[in-house]
């Protein structure tokens, strides 16, 4: 997907939501949960049908997992510490 194909629906949504503020509207929660589940399914489908990825995992999976966990934890720590610096 291109950058524009992500930004356009987001911007149109924000604008429309802003314009329709103060009106009674249906709850979108249930709709979005169903769509999220479909999206995650398609994401899983992309993983399962990617033989290059599936072949890579037994070879480098352990190291990759360690690196990934460290990268995640340090990112969280930096963001948490950084939040205090910029006060948000």
């Amino acid at each position: 997907m291109t950058l524009l194909s992500l930004i356009v629906p987001l911007a149109v949504g924000i604008l429309l939501g802003y314009l329709l503020r103060n009106r009674k509207l249906v709850k979108l929660d249930k709709v979005s949960l169903a769509v999220i589940v479909i999206l995650i399914f398609s994401l899983g489908f992309g993983i399962g049908s990617n033989n290059e990825l599936l072949n890579a995992l037994p070879k480098v999976g352990f190291n990759a997992l360690i690196i990934s966990v460290l990268t995640i934890l340090f990112s969280i720590a930096f963001v948490k510490a950084g939040r205090r610096m910029v006060k948000t």
Binding site: V31, V35, I47, G48, N63, A64
Partner: protein, 202 residues
């Protein structure tokens, strides 16, 4: 919520594997690209719409303002340090592992790019490690969000503008929309540059 997400990803992976290797009922891209794009477009619209409707979320965003631009910077620093520590612990080419962590979860970029710059072995590692970053962010988000309100955004890295955005919205709320999207956007834009910069340093 999370059990549906984990079930969906597992079922999707099983269906994708069967279809690709045995059944060939439908073209893979129809699900992994087209269905993904359509659902993501719908969700971006819905999230945007909810955000636009939500006066509190917009006010909160206005108060935070340009400070949200600091988040991706912290994620860059944390990721690179995580890679450095990982390389030292695992005794793998440290610069290569730092480049791997500079994929910020964007595995379709980091696999091939790191492969080209650092060789096939590190390319495979970059592919798998960044894939795990996306997968772990999605599957462990109920735990991650307890560490910090912004922790899922930090964890997701470059993926917070698309693949991990939906779960982040569910767990962090509407006011996280712009922060998460901007974070993913900026990290996506700088991922190739940081990887290339690290390669040219060594």
């Amino acid at each position: 919520m999370i059990k549906y997400v984990i079930a969906a990803i597992a079922l999707g992976a099983a269906a994708g594997y069967l279809n690709n290797n045995f059944l060939n009922v439908i073209p893979n891209a129809l699900v992994s690209d087209q269905l993904f794009s359509v659902t993501l477009t719908v969700l971006l619209f819905v999230f945007g719409f909810s955000f636009g409707l939500d006066k509190d979320a917009m006010d909160k965003m206005k108060r935070t303002g340009p400070k949200i631009l600091a988040f991706p910077l912290f994620v860059v620093l944390g990721s690179l340090l995580g890679g450095l520590v990982g390389g030292l612990i695992l005794h793998i080419d440290v610069a290569g592992v730092v480049a791997v962590s500079a994929g910020y979860g964007w595995y379709t970029l980091s696999g091939p790019l790191i492969g080209q710059l650092f060789g096939a072995e590190l390319g495979t590692l970059g592919f798998a490690a960044n894939f795990f970053r996306e997968l772990l962010t999605i599957t462990t988000i109920p735990l991650i969000v307890k560490l910090d309100k912004y922790a899922p955004v930090a964890s997701g890295g470059a993926t917070t503008m698309d693949t991990t955005l939906p779960v982040i919205m569910r767990y962090c709320g509407s006011d996280m929309l712009i922060t998460a999207f901007t974070n993913g956007l900026i990290l996506t834009l700088i991922a190739p540059f940081t990887i290339i910069a690290i390669a040219s340093f060594i």
